[in-house]
Amino acid sequence: MGFSINNQQSTINNPKWEPKIVAFLCNWCSYGAADLAGISRLQYPPNIRVIRVPCTGRMSPKFILSAFMNGADGVWVSGCHPGDCHYLEGNYYARRKLSLFKGLMEHMGIESDRLHFSWISSAEGTKFAEMANKVTKAVRDAGPANYFAKKISILKTKVA
């Protein structure tokens, strides 16, 4: 895998544990909102690792599964408001895809607090910071998601 966030395997007993959250942000809106939040000096937790996507319509379930497999504790996908997609309808398709995705994930036992979706336009820096806080809190409360991370045996022995 090109990227890995597996390097610091976290455990419940580790008091210094910080949640790792992968945020897939649409280039045309939520990514801009993150910029705006930064420029406006709004505080939001550093637990969010941003991956820019061209549109939420580009989201594949593989991306999210891959994030969890590589040790993410939570995933957040954010795009343009319905009706405002740069490609007109990408987010409408995404809404269906992600709704079914979340249903199946929860069915298999992932806590609903680990998966977040939102619509944030590039003018909504405040909403972005608020949402980042909310997502981080929810994932922190859910604790480490080590049950979905792929544990390679060498890694396991190192951690133990």
Partner: protein, 315 residues
Amino acid sequence: MSERGAKIREISERLLKEGKIDMVIGFRKGTLPMMNEPCLVKSPEDVKNLVWDSNCGINLAKYLIGRKEKIGVVAKGCDSRNIVTHLIENKIKRDQLFIIGVPCEGMIDRRKIASMFEKEIKEVAEEKNKIIVRGSGFEKILEKSEVLQKNCAICIHRNPVIYDELAADIVKEQKNVDRYKDVRQIESMPPEEKRDYFNDLLSPCIRCYACRNACPLCYCPTCFVDESRPQWVGKGIDLTDIKTFHFLRAYHCAGRCTDCGACERACPLGIDVRAFTMKLEKDCFELYGWEAGMSKDERPPLDTYRPDDPNDFFK
């Protein structure tokens, strides 16, 4: 049952003789009891091999993908819905097909039956609603309704939704069926219990891909399990990889699966892989009012949208 077989043979022979089709895809008797096999019949002389009984659970739509010939295909309710899905997905053209529709009375669960007997079953016959099981030194008569495949027990579309000729009269559809009882039972569990449930369910999986190969919806030239740059899912039997495989396999079938049960039937370990697809079927139905393969003029749920789709998951 055998009446259906006779009618299938009659239609097939006629079509082949008239040269209307190049081949018939149907079932012939398997070498083991309760295991009929798909077969391609190209000449009228071979039509005699075609049979029909309660062991025709394999989904024949699988064998139509990308074919160029004119084909007579034997189709029960679920096969016909997968044919509709193929038409929508341009896997075959309608004018290439002569669909021999078979109103279906359900297929029997060979694993369930085998587990009821200690000795080897040598022969399974059927008469009306009874299944007669014979082995050396024993014979037992079972109620067919008690040994149906799990998907057939809750099937509400036994009659073909699309056909050119029927091999029997339309059968009565099952009414007041609770299709999602099993799904709701899992849904009601807390997350840890769900995880344990699926870990237990999948721990015997050997990643043989029989479930995928039996599925009429699985025809990607390169399956995601074989993609290597990036590799989305590892090849071994690490439980995370197994879960990811099953998650994605089911997800690829979202809004397309007709619950024909081919996957579960094919699994050499008897794993209840419908536990995944049924959840998606339920969600597609509840969120988008969708049932797969019912009409070729409607777009499947992931290929369309409504501006006022449910927005509950989004903030």
